[in-house]
């Protein structure tokens, strides 16, 4: 195969290319860019700009720059680009040309064929326009597939099963929710709903407004009225939003943001995750209402769904995941990079369409939920054995998450941090991995201390747990192994371990030589031994090892 088939997510704000490399779906990047802005422009000097440079000139030349052309695909309009006019398909073709160039540079090979994704609600006319755009870009478009379908493919769904999948796609500028039914590779879209003008950009705006208003209260001037200050404030707000996805607080510092006469004014504000969610609550709620609508349109209940997938960068916000989980009663999947998931799925489809061997999208995830034991409310009753999950299972690792806790009695001197692993809502029913105490707490009323507990799960599977009391700075931490059962030292190494291993090895070799009837006692013994090891029952394991040696000796032939 001299040219490669690629998968392209042609998005409203950004586009992404992916391909199968050694069978693995992989995002293609060039010059450090993985997400290519879906923007086309003509510079005042007549240079054609696509992607990031086009985005850069938008403010200066709005009449020579075209953004979000996807919203107009299929429409009979002509869009002005400098002195010329273009159809939406032609503009999309220019974006696809840029995406193809990035793919070609990344692969080091020519790219001739592609699978392109479109929203599930696209009409035939809109799909035709997309197909046309691909052809104008010099691509042979093998398939046009729906974005929710691509997401499902990325997660390996529906290949040999029958599943009803809900895809919740919250991006930078648009929200789409769809229910698709997949059976043995055949996909049917049952219902879709969405809001073309709702996304992460709106969340940024709310935060900027909040910060601007706070600043004005403090200093008397509004930074939003100064171009320079607004630009810096916007960038800071975006960073804070991202930070709040894994920390309960974000500190936003912009020294010398404005001057009042001859006095410099500094911005130094803190935003809590709770405050941020308050600011965007109504927007998030509207996505839930649309999710309810899509269930209604598909004549399904939440419990009829087999899977829920989270797609789009804004689904990284923990509150989004929580709301979806609460509303649907399903733990949604979000471990595949939500910005790249659709492109990866398109690459999978590209592989399937050309008969190439397709590997799964491999993501390192933590297999069990990790959290701490806490006091809380469950079914209206207060109880102190609640599992407060900090890193839910199937989160892509390495990952770092923090949550906020407090004390339950006045002047409480210490808090016990007990780290648990498991899925039960009752902490003590899960596995206790470790514990420590944060002591010497400053005397404060119950519920006032702010104790931030951070779980840092690194690529080696070690979990670093730290607890910090914010007002005093008191801090303690421990490191534990994140997964696996705990075995006493002697069972892992040492002479008795060597004897055990030798016996098991010999037994396994012997099994291959024995007949059906003779195998059973040996197999049974091996199974019992495995069980005893898992349970950490040293004595039982030793006894079984001796039995094993007897049996092996008898059968030594």
């Amino acid at each position: 195969m001299s040219s490669t088939v690629i998968g392209i997510d042609l998005g409203t704000t950004n586009s992404v290319a992916a391909a199968l490399i050694d069978g693995k779906p992989t995002v293609l990047e060039s010059g450090g860019e993985r997400l290519i802005p879906s923007v086309v422009g003509l510079s005042p000097g007549g240079e054609l700009l696509t992607g990031t440079p086009a985005k850069h000139q938008y403010v200066v030349s709005p009449d020579r720059t075209i953004k979000s052309v996807k919203r107009q695909m299929g429409q009979e309009v002509l869009l002005p680009l400098g002195g010329r006019t273009c159809t939406p398909a032609e503009i999309s073709a220019l974006i696809l040309r840029k995406v193809t160039a990035v793919a070609r540079e990344s692969l080091g090979r020519p790219v001739g064929q592609a699978v392109i994704t479109v929203p599930a609600y696209f009409t035939d006319i809109q799909r035709q326009a997309t197909l046309q755009a691909g052809e104008m870009a010099g691509l042979e478009v093998l398939r046009i597939i729906n974005e929710p379908t691509a997401a499902a493919l990325a997660y390996g769904l529906g290949q040999q099963s029958h599943e009803k999948v809900l895809v919740y796609d919250l991006g930078g500028g648009t929200f789409d929710v769809s229910i698709v039914e997949i059976e043995n590779g055949v996909v049917e879209v049952l219902a879709t709903a969405g809001n073309n003008h709702l996304g992460g950009d709106d969340f940024d705006e709310r935060l900027v407004d909040h910060l601007g208003a706070q600043f004005r209260k403090q200093h008397g001037t509004d930074p939003r009225e100064d171009a320079q200050a607004l630009a810096r404030l916007t960038a800071a707000a975006e960073n804070a939003k991202i930070h709040l996805s894994s920390h309960p607080f974000a500190r936003i510092r912009e020294p010398f943001l404005l001057t009042a006469g001859d006095r410099p004014l500094n911005l130094d504000l803190e935003v809590s995750r709770i405050r941020f969610i308050d600011l965007i609550e109504d927007l998030l709620q509207s996505t839930i209402e649309l999710t309810a609508k899509v269930l209604e349109d598909a004549a399904l209940q939440a419990r009829d769904l087999d899977r829920v997938l989270l797609v789009g960068g804004s689904t990284r916000i923990p509150a989004v995941r929580e709301m979806v989980t609460d509303f649907l009663g399903h733990s949604p999947h979000g471990e595949i990079n939500p910005d790249e998931c659709v492109a990866l799925g398109a690459a999978v489809q590209a592989g399937l369409a050309t008969g190439a061997g397709v590997d799964m999208v491999l993501v390192d995830v933590n297999p069990y939920s990790l959290g701490v034991r806490s006091l809380g409310r469950s079914f209206g009753l207060v109880h102190n054995d609640l599992m407060s999950v900090i890193i839910p299972r199937n989160t892509a690792i390495p990952v770092s998450r923090s949550e906020l806790y407090s004390t339950t009695s006045d002047n409480q001197k210490e808090v016990r941090i007990q780290v648990y692993q498991g899925e039960s809502k009752i902490a003590s029913k899960n596995i206790l991995l470790g514990e420590f105490a944060l002591d010497d707490l400053p005397p404060l009323p119950a519920g006032e201390p702010e104790i931030v507990v951070t779980f840092d799960y690194d690529i080696d599977g070690m979990v670093h747990v730290s607890a910090v009391e914010r007002s005093s700075g008191r801090e303690k931490e421990i490191t534990i192994k994140g997964t696996g059962e705990k075995m006493p030292e002697s069972t892992v190494s040492g002479p008795s371990a060597a004897r055990r291993k030798a016996a098991v090895r010999k037994a396994k070799k012997l099994l291959q030589e024995l007949g059906e009837h003779e195998r059973r006692p040996l197999e049974g013994l091996l199974k019992s031994l495995e069980l005893a090891e898992k349970q950490g029952n040293q004595q039982q394991a030793d006894t079984l090892v001796e039995d094993l040696w007897e049996l092996l000796y008898e059968n030594r032939g």
Binding site: V59, V60, Q228
Partner: protein
């Protein structure tokens, strides 16, 4: 050696003290013990052999892993990708420190716009000290191969600048030029690490369209 053991079949008295019979009984006992010990030794031998086999396999596997690891390490040392990785790491490091450099820019800006008052309040050394610090920063960047992207006064270049605001002007000389740098841009060995955020002048008529 052949023993005539037929005498064993002779009826014996209850309390006959027969040294031969006793001796034979003891030999029988000893033989039983010996058989037992030999079988123990054989069992132990069996286990020992199995143990040695198992350890040998473990050693073989470990040796294989080590060889694989060495081969891979050798490959990694040979590739030229390490240069690219080094640059990537440097870019990440730089990005983390940019807010600090930005802060320095802001202070300098303020001080430059309020030179009189600053000098009155703090004497000339504050301004000089800050300028000296800024030079030192530029020096450090230069050592890393990092250059600041020229912006203010230059023609707007979308490959290096990100326009955050367009300001209408009437002077055609200023058209398309960067009026103000909101945030500095930097490049490292020809590749842009961060685009400069700028305010650009646009001729009046264009804005009205």
């Amino acid at each position: 050696m052949r023993f005539d053991l037929s005498f064993l079949n002779r009826p014996r008295g209850k309390e006959s003290h027969d040294p031969l019979a006793e001796g034979l009984a003891r030999v029988e006992e000893a033989l039983k013990e010996l058989t037992g010990t030999v079988s123990q030794v054989t069992k132990g031998q069996f286990q020992l052999t199995a143990l040695v086999e198992s350890q040998a396999e473990t050693l073989e596997e470990t040796a294989g892993n080590i060889n694989e690891g060495l081969a891979r390490a050798g490959e990694q040392m040979d590739t030229q990708v390490s240069r690219e990785q080094e640059e990537k790491a440097l870019a990440v490091l730089l990005r983390e420190f940019l807010p600090v450099l930005d802060g320095l820019d802001r202070i300098l800006e303020f001080v430059n716009q309020n030179q009189e008052i600053t000098r009155i309040s703090f004497g000339p050394s504050l301004v000089e000290g800050l300028k000296s610090l800024a030079d030192r920063a530029a020096q450090a960047l230069a050592a890393l191969g990092v250059k600041r992207l020229p912006a203010t006064g230059r023609p707007f270049d979308p490959h290096r600048h990100h326009a955050v605001k367009a300001v209408p002007v009437t002077d055609p000389e200023l058209d398309g030029r960067v009026l103000q740098e909101v945030m500095a841009g930097y490049e490292m060995r020809g590749r842009v690490v961060r685009y400069a955020s700028v305010v650009v002048a646009v001729r009046q008529e264009d804005q009205e369209r």
